[in-house]
Amino acid sequence: MVNREDLQQKNSNANHENTNRFEITKAKTGIQGLDDVTYGGIPENRPTLVVGNVGTGKTVMAMGFIINGITKYDEPGVFMTFEEKTDELKVNMISMGYELDKFISENKLYLERLHVDQMEIQETGRYNIDGLFIRLGAAIEKVKAKRIVLDSLDTLFTGLDDKILRAEFKRLFFWLKERKVTAIITAEVGKFFLTRFGLEEIVADCVIELNCRVHNQIATRRLRIVKYRGSYHSINEYPFTLDQKGITILPIVSESPQFIVSSARISSGIREIDEMLENKGFYVGSSILVSGSAGTGKSTLVSAFAEDACKKNNKVLYCAFEEAPNQIIRNMETVGIHLKNHIDSGNLRFYYSRPTLQNLELHLITIRKIIKEINCTVVVLDPITNIMYEDINSDMRTMLIRFIDYLKIEQITVMLTATITTTSLQLIQSHEGISSIVDLCIMIEEKYIKNRHKKFLYVIKSRGINNSKKDYELLIDPGGISVSPVEEEEHGIAKNIMSYP
């Protein structure tokens, strides 16, 4: 965490030196990931526009900004709604984990609904929205607000004259600036914003767009910083989730990766494999791929690693995408790996999800959340191929690289399994991608030799470790795992790998 913040500091400093612009101070939203992609938050004491279609999460994001202001930064807030009744809003926000009543009673939050009934309005000449300013002013005064939300602007202005609107939009934004409150104003994509009217260009210093797209029947919400005057910002789209813990955005960390490189080592949990790796095991914070066809014992190796890490009091997160946790625990008992008591002690945590439920990026967001929650140092993804569809156009590889970079920055050791074999490498393009982004790769192959199926294990790639170049036979039985070097005459038969990335 520490070094990422340093990094951001450096980035923003560098930006100032280059551009010589005025110093823009930022207010942290406290929303996971959003402060990363904006390099420190939204403009302080200025309005930010959040645009998106119905149901993209504008209200939740805006509420998150207000609630975090109260709980994390001691800044009271006003939430002015033009849509939902305040009671309905309270109920809806409970499902997002925000208990509004508590803050209202502490006089840190003020909710007000401004309802505009178009049927009631008849125009008889020039008018302005000073009435809104009076109400906003009173609301801000009431709780001494530093943050304010207007949700959403379209509802307020539908049915009013376009010419007057343009002028009044501008006045609203200037008024908010004068009041020195950090504001989020939500609006739908449509008539006024991100279209030919392009009002956002004139009025807001920071514009964030939310959208929701369906791909392969899986909907993904995404966020993009359209504009951020006076500040460096990322131009990519980032996926985000909404759940009981509010809103989370998958941050990027790979823009300028400056990792702490550790020389500390962590055991593989199997003595012989450690011996292959300079007798020390893996580097802490590195990524390890265990690859092989079905039934070669990938999950067993992973479980051995997880068990050993737990024994040494590491917090381990086991992400299972194929077998259910109970099944894994039972199966591993048969080869002498005991995971159950580590779950009880709190050192081991399972995350289980069928691949069809969500796509890769949403899995990664959820996993990242758990990582933060339990503060773990070892993560296992078993198997990664299950959550990667063979869609060449998708950005799965980028997603995975970003995630591995994130783990690296956090100094978390990650072990992935994949059903990658020498054959599948040639057939499926995405498979080659996975193996090239990890630091260390162990391959297991099954061969039929002298009327017996035998498993062979090789270290194919190991960045920064002088690994053993020998081939080993892998034996998994009730006594546990044993790995022994292959005899010379068998070697020739076993080894038929030409090249491997």
Binding site: E120, Q122, E123, T124, R126, Y127, R135, A138
Partner: protein, 92 residues
């Protein structure tokens, strides 16, 4: 027959152009069409922000016809006389 009495509330911010026009326009209108049968209460909303919430006000100036019922609302500087007549259901 009893003469119908019109009761208006006009919400303004004194000193603004639109509000000044509205005050002038409603007085002229009432003198012309409703002489002797109207009451206007002019409310300086900036002095009473609580009213803004109570009456759900956002656009100004705002004219509310309290009596006779039903209540009607007009926003703007009241320069469009025909619209006011239409709202009051008065034949010009």
């Amino acid at each position: 027959m009893e003469i119908e009495q019109f009761v208006f509330q006009l919400f303004v911010i004194p000193g603004t152009v639109d509000s000044n026009h509205a005050i002038k326009n409603i007085q002229m209108f009432c003198e012309k069409y409703l002489k002797g049968m109207y009451e206007i209460e002019i409310i300086q909303i900036n002095e009473h922000p609580a009213w803004a919430m109570k009456e759900n006000i956002f656009a100004l100036p705002l004219l509310i016809k309290k009596m006779p019922l039903p209540e009607d609302r007009l926003i703007g500087d009241l320069s469009d006389t025909n619209k006011i007549l239409k709202m009051l259901r008065i034949e010009s």
